[in-house]
Symmetry: D2
Subunit: 342 residues, 4 copies
């Protein structure tokens, strides 16, 4: 199948290209970008300089070229996705958007993103988190790739939906810088960022309603999700730790059973042994998430944590996984399951 | 005043020596250590090789030498503090212990540290967090230096004691590796730790009862403190983010006023403007803590964060600050208020 | 082809397993290790926990198991390679040793490694750097995988063999920590290593004679190679910068032509444009080396630099590449050519 | 003495402010900056928010304000120094420029900096490296603060001036990012820079003629200095390793004696024991340099290395040290001699 990638100048796009280079069924035919249009891919991204894509030039995002593709991935800002993607729908094409443009109902999008949605009839799109919404993916035309934090938070929380009580669910996220993109910012200057932990965005980070909406869809008491993300000093990887009040009678063993039941057969989710917490270094470069849960008996809370690579399972890898399912390709095709360690 | 430092082989001891080298009233007379006894300080710690202490040899911890000191700092494991410090009390000497040996009532110590306390009559000692318990310090014989996480958590939570509701208070801590000490461990191997975020210790980390006990002493609803610490990939610095259910009617402005009232005159606490969160890079090397608060209206939670240098305000610097107050020395004497940035 | 990996407890072994998991022709049948023998691979290396190897147990290095393998990779200390590998030779088996045991003639080995070689008749083995000694590899029984620094230094220097003059050739190496292995050491403690550049080993680092010997074999004036390696604060990746006196009349264009001629068709060597220097971040995770050269007109020196991933092109990847050539498999089989960026 | 700092928006300026905050004889009266003019210092640099300077506003660089200062430090780009500083000379004022504007003779400046010098009569200014040119500093009106690489290279090479032979002297520099300043650049984006070693600037880095000129002034054979700097992934600190052909008959002991003779009484230079190389982590935050030398007998080269903090001994600290000497203040006044470790 021919595929197109829009947003080839950014980290998400580059990661799609890295992964698609080894995909057995998808072949990259068009790479579109903004500020880098006209340049060979190998010049923009020297880490791809030895791949067959190296001499291909990035084109401007032009629907005609992309119309020849069976699958289109958009790793673009949400404004750009809003502008480009509606015209690409139909004709049996699968479009996977990595931005936040189509994850929320239009009204919520307007509130949290501060702009008016221009294609409300397309929202919310199918949510491309296969472990939790696999059945909705086959044949989907528009797939909203989840945010990296929601992916991790939902993989951690999903098995607990029936086990936690009403009350604040605290989601503490810690992500490497690559999730913030390739643009230059004072707080991403290496000298500033290197030895730095920085909470940001709270209490109005846009991933908050996304986590709440999807957890509610799973039956969880999501009204009071309180999310605080932090930039931590590394390039890739992410850990999300969720703490929720526990229903009476629920034990640590009960939590662990729920997690094991949910993920026992999942190729991309590893449930860790009791007493072990996930570490981001074990999943960097892989489409794999590590999950663990425990009960804090003293506080009567459930603690659930998930580690993943924000650019793979949290973005490009998961988008390919969703496209695999949507197109009837083997779900694991082209996706690394071993991390790059150390 | 002559001072002694026990535990001179570790990071806490080394930081005491670095800071005491510039103290106007305290003069290091004895440095005692374990595995490095007999070696010159400049060989053990080349960063001190150009200081006057460089050629002084580390001695074994021997009460006689230390008895000539007016102030003794112990940066030792809690077992060692338990063994050595009771014999040093009295004679007007000020002893500041950086370990957990004397922070909790003996029964709680036994439960959380897993050994029987051998000097229960000394517990709990005066808690050496001057901003919150300053009045108890003058003339104190035994001061328990707070843990780094409790220092940050309590500086963030203290002003909120009357403003938060019953229910879980989630304390998410992120610390650099130096808090874990100088001993060799697989998870502190540079290749493993470098790009890694790792939750650990939850739900039974020993700082949990310490945070709860002290927050309760301030009048806070501390019964359900749920604490999850994380190692993040940097050497120094720490951020603690606390999320607590909010009492009805409390607003963001109300929280900010409470913080400003509490810390307006504190030389070592900087309250950040609304909308700004503390970043650890701004306090590395300094005895300064940065604090900020906000309300998550949607979840009805208070979010309170604090950044500090775990080895300075979280350990050695705060110990000196407490000793300053205890001995009638100017509270800021010898303590850096500017961080090393970038 | 069935393959065995000895040294599965270390970083080199783990990297072999990561790469071999995706190899189309080699199938891992036996993984032998020392301190981790008896444990499942997924427990020892959680980054492999989602791979088919996860539940396989590491065995002790036992020749009988390994005798069923057509290819054996040894990522073992040189003493262990010396002890185990001679018994595995013959029967058409290809043995690739990643240690220094068989790279040098026995007498040189004795001098630089400080122990007596016990199989001098096997030294020097075929040097497994395919770009420079490809013709010697097909059918080789014992292949000495080059050191990471020699790989980078030789890829940079090889095209210059006839263009540089007698006199010191200065090789300045900068490597991430993973090259130093998984063992615990004070200088690899994360808190110490994190913000640290540390020259080490000079002037007697064991890679010195290896660089000199192989550069001499290429016709270079190698008598005065002077090598200074440095640990730099990152986990993976390596840059080697070589500076050599230039022959009269040689220009920058001449150097660049020589490099382009040498590497024009190499799948794993990318020659950078004039004015660009290689950066390690572009090759992490890949079996690709980036090379660039320039003339310092003022000093009349040639400067040649190479960046690679010390665990891939500098170790495990190159070993597989050499085994591919030795066994008649496609040279690029199973080897990543795109780096993990950022 | 009242002092002024121009360039208060950058890292060099901020470091001057951090150090001057604790200086016993210098008091900061004016802080001038460009893009941050009008802002309080504590807002621009939150690490200074708890210092007395926090509420002072940065002014535009205006000679009248600065004329009331006995000492003026300029941490400005060379173009700005060229424009502002000549008007500040005279009236007994000491001006220390941290840029490259006045280090070289005007003709060399023109060649290496690519612009015409507008005050050639002021070049070269007194070179502010006290350990090597102390006698020229008392009463100096214009002092050119050395570059960070030249400081390290010259401290390493100075004792060897009479011991090395003609031929290329290779200077390999490795610096943290802070030396590249606070401006935003793609190669300083945290995600790019974090795990990256990057040679740059060779063979035309502007520090090359500075090293050569000053080494020649010390009697060294400087005609063929060949300098390759590298950015390494850390914020602060720098190591320079120099390799030079050795004169016949010179031994390692001879080198070490020369170094010990040169630096035996220097408060800010620590000579390491034979067999030990300097590590940048031991000098971060201090005005101290660590130096070591060795002979490579095989290659007949001298290897000399120096570690320092590029912002302290390589910039702001050394500027204060030079101003101390120039103004008759104690040379060590206000300067930290212990590093921040770990």
């Amino acid at each position: 199948m021919d595929v197109g990638v829009i947003g080839g100048s950014g980290y998400g796009g580059a990661e799609l290209l890295r992964l698609l280079a080894g995909h057995p069924a998808f072949k990259v035919r068009v790479v579109a970008g903004g500020r880098t249009a006209g340049q060979p891919i190998g010049d923009v991204f020297p880490h791809l300089a030895a791949t067959p894509l190296a001499d291909e030039r990035i084109v401007t995002a032009d629907a005609d070229d992309l119309r020849d593709c069976a699958v289109v991935f958009a790793a673009t800002p949400h404004e750009v996705s809003l502008e480009l993607l509606p015209a690409l729908l139909g004709e049996g094409r699968t479009v996977v958007d990595l931005s936040g443009a189509f994850r929320l109902p239009a009204a919520q999008f307007d509130e949290w993103y501060g702009i008016g949605h221009t294609a409300p009839e397309l929202t919310p799109a199918v949510y491309g988190l296969p472990e939790l919404w696999r059945a909705e993916l086959p044949g989907a035309e528009l797939i909203a790739g989840p945010g990296c934090y929601p992916t991790a938070a939902l993989l951690a929380l999903a098995p607990l939906a029936g086990l936690v009580a009403e009350g604040p669910i605290v989601v503490s996220g810690m992500s490497g810088w690559s999730g913030a993109g390739r643009g230059l910012r004072d707080d991403l200057h290496a000298s500033h960022a290197h030895g730095n932990v920085a909470p940001y965005g709270a209490p109005r980070h846009r991933h908050t309603p996304e986590i709440a909406q999807q957890f509610a869809a799973l039956g969880g008491p999501a009204a009071r999700v309180s999310f605080v993300p932090h930039l931590v000093p590394m390039t890739r990887g992410e850990v999300v730790t969720c703490t929720a009040p526990l229903r009476d009678g629920v034990t640590g063993a009960g939590l662990r059973d729920a997690v094991a039941d949910r993920y026992g057969d999942e190729p991309f989710v590893t449930v860790l042994s009791a007493g072990t917490w996930p570490q981001s270094t074990h999943v960097v470069g892989a489409n794999t998430a590590h999950v663990a849960v425990a009960v804090d008996e003293r506080a009567r809370t459930a603690i659930a944590a998930c580690a993943l690579d924000n650019l793979v399972k949290g973005a490009a890898g998961q988008a390919i996984q969703a496209a695999n399912v949507a197109t009837g390709t083997a779900e694991t095709a082209g996706l690394p399951i071993a991390g790059l360690y150390p």
